[in-house]
C-alpha cells in the first residue's frame, strides 16, 4: 500500500503531465508553422501580387486587406467599446436596463462568428447595399469585436480604486471630470490591451468576412471602401482547401504571416499590461 503523501505526489505529477499535454501541442503548432513557413518568406512574398493561380508571387493584397479590415474595425469598435465600458463601469446602476445591456453584451460575445457573417450579409451587404466590401466586412467585424473591448476596458476601469473618484468629487470635480482626468488615464494601459485583444481577433477571423468582404482572387489593393478585398485568413482557407495542387510552401508561408501578425499583437498587449502593472502607483 502506498500512503496518502505518495498519492499526493503521484497526483501532482499527473496534473503536471496533463498540463504538458495541453501545452506541447501549442508549441508544436507554432513550431511546425514557423519551420515549414519560414522558407517561403522573402521580400517578394510579402510585397508582390499573387499570380499563376495564386501558386506564385506574393500575398501582398491579402496582407493589406487584413490591415484595412482591422483599421476599419478599430475606427468603429474603439469609440463604441470604450463608451460602453465607461457607461458600465462609471455610470450604470443596477437597473433592468443595465442588466439587459449586460445580457446583450454577453450574448454578442457568444454569437458564432459565422452568424455574424450572415448578419453582415443581411444588413450591410444586401439591405444597406454596401455590397461585398471592406466597409461591410469592417462593420461586421467591429460588432463582433465590441464585447471583447467592452469587457476588458470595463475591467480596467473598475480596477482603478474608487477612492480616486471620491477624492476628485470632493475637490469639486464633476463625475465626468473625475473620469476624464483620473480614471481614464489610469485605466488606459488596460483599455489598450483590451483593444489589441479585440483587434487581433478581428484580424484572424474568417467566417464573418466570408460573405461580407472577402475576395477569392483580387490581385490589387481595393480602391475604395466599397470594394471587396483579399484577406489573410480567408486566403489561407482558399489556398488550403479550394485550390488543388497548391505548393505547401505557400500555404505555410501564408499561415506564418498571419500567425506572426496575430501573435505579435498578442505580445504587444502582454508587454503593455506587465509594464504598466509594475509602474502604477496603486
Amino acid at each position: 500500500m502506498i500512503n496518502r503523501y505518495q498519492v499526493q505526489r503521484l497526483g501532482f505529477i499527473l496534473l503536471g503531465v496533463i498540463s504538458l499535454i495541453v501545452v506541447l501541442p501549442i508549441l508544436f503548432v507554432v513550431g511546425n508553422i514557423v519551420v515549414q513557413g519560414i522558407g517561403a518568406i522573402n521580400w517578394e512574398f510579402l510585397t508582390a501580387m499573387p499570380h499563376g493561380g495564386m501558386k506564385e508571387g506574393g500575398i501582398f493584397p491579402a496582407i493589406v486587406g487584413t490591415l484595412l479590415l482591422v483599421l476599419g474595425t478599430a475606427v468603429v469598435a474603439i469609440p463604441v467599446g470604450i463608451g460602453g465600458a465607461i457607461y458600465l463601469a462609471e455610470y450604470a446602476r443596477d437597473t433592468f436596463w443595465t442588466r439587459t445591456l449586460r445580457l446583450a453584451i454577453i450574448n454578442l460575445a457568444g454569437v458564432p462568428s459565422v452568424v455574424y457573417g450572415l448578419f453582415g450579409l443581411g444588413l450591410f451587404v444586401l439591405f444597406l447595399q454596401f455590397g461585398t466590401s471592406v466597409l461591410a466586412g469592417s462593420l461586421t467585424l467591429a460588432i463582433m469585436t465590441l464585447p471583447v473591448i467592452i469587457s476588458t476596458a470595463e475591467e480596467a476601469l473598475r480596477a482603478v480604486p474608487g477612492e480616486f473618484r471620491l477624492v476628485s468629487a470632493s475637490l469639486g470635480g464633476t463625475r465626468w471630470q473625475g473620469i476624464r482626468h483620473i480614471v481614464l488615464p489610469q485605466a488606459l494601459p488596460g483599455i489598450i490591451t483590451g483593444i489589441i485583444l479585440g483587434l487581433l481577433r478581428a484580424a484572424g477571423e474568417t467566417a464573418p468576412i466570408l460573405f461580407t468582404a472577402a475576395a477569392f482572387y483580387l490581385p490589387r489593393i481595393p480602391r475604395s471602401l466599397l470594394e471587396p478585398t483579399m484577406a489573410l485568413p480567408y486566403h489561407l482557407y482558399v489556398i488550403s482547401t479550394q485550390v488543388p495542387g497548391m505548393p505547401p510552401r505557400v500555404q505555410y508561408g501564408t499561415a506564418l504571416v498571419l500567425l506572426t501578425i496575430v501573435l505579435s499583437m498578442n505580445a504587444v498587449a502582454a508587454i503593455i499590461r506587465s509594464y504598466f502593472r509594475r509602474r502604477r502607483e496603486w
Binding site: Q8, I26, S240
Partner: protein
Amino acid sequence: MGKPEFLSRPSHPRWGEFVIESTIRVLAFSSIGFVILIFFFLVREGIPIFWEISPENLFGTRWYPTFGLFGTLPLILGSLLVTVTAILIALPLGVATAVFVREVAPNWAREILKPMIEILAGIPSVVLGFFGMTVVAPLVREVLGAPTGLTAFTGALILAYMALPTIISVAEDALDAVPKSYRDAGLAMGATQWQTIWRVVVPAARSGIVTAVMLGLGRAIGETMAVMMVTGNAARMPLTLDSLFRPVRTMTATIAAEMGEVAQGSVHYHALFGIGIILFVITFIINAMAAVTIFKKPRRGGLR
C-alpha cells in the same frame, strides 16, 4: 452674511458634459440594438424557410439542397457530436490544468503555462484548421487505419484545444474565488493538499466550473473554420457507433461552405439563414445560462 449666489447653478450650464455623457449612454446601449439587429436580420432572411418547405423535410434526415432536401437533423446532430466530444476531451484537461496552475504549479511553471495558453487563445481558427488538415488528419488516418483522417473526432480534437483557453481561465477564476479559509480548514483537519483540492476546493468552485463548461460549449458549437476544414463535411446521420471516426458535417460548416454559392432569396438561401437562427438561439440560451452565474459575482469600483 455669506454670498447668496454661492450654491446656485453655474452661469454657464455644463453642456459639454451633458453631450459627452449622453453620447456614452447611446454608445453603450447600442449593444442592445446590435443584438436586436442580428436577430431581426436572421429572422428576416431565414423565417421563410419554415413555410417554404414542410416540417418533415426541414427536420428530416437528408440534407441534399440540389434535390430540394433540407433535412437539418444530420447537421444538428453533427454539431452536437463534435461539440460534446470536444468538451468531454477539454473538460478534464482544462480543469486539471487550472488546478495545476492555481494550486500546485511552482511559479516558474505558471510563468510558462499562462502565456502559452494565451498564445493558444490567439491562434486564428483558420490556422488551427490548416494545421489540423495537414498534420492531425493524416495522423488520425494512420492510427485508425481509416480511409480518411477528416473525421468528427479530428474536429473534436481541434475544437477541444480551441475551447481550452476559455475553460482554463474561467475555471481558474472560480478556484481563485474559493476563500483561503476553506483550504486552511481542509489542511487543519489533517487532509493532504491533494485531498483538500479535490474534496474541498474543486467542489466549492463547481458553479464556476459549470460556467466554464457552458462558455466552452458556446464557443465550440459556434466554431466554423477549423471544423469545416477537418471534419470532412459529409452530411450523414451520425447514429452508428463509429460515427465519431467518420466524416461529419456541422451547422456552422454548412453555412460557411454553401452560402457563397446560393442565389439570394432562394429556398437554399433561406435554409442557411434558418440554420443561423437555430445556432443563434442555441448559443443565446447557453450564454444566458452562463451569465446567470456571472451576474452573481460581486463587483467593485464606481463611487462608493
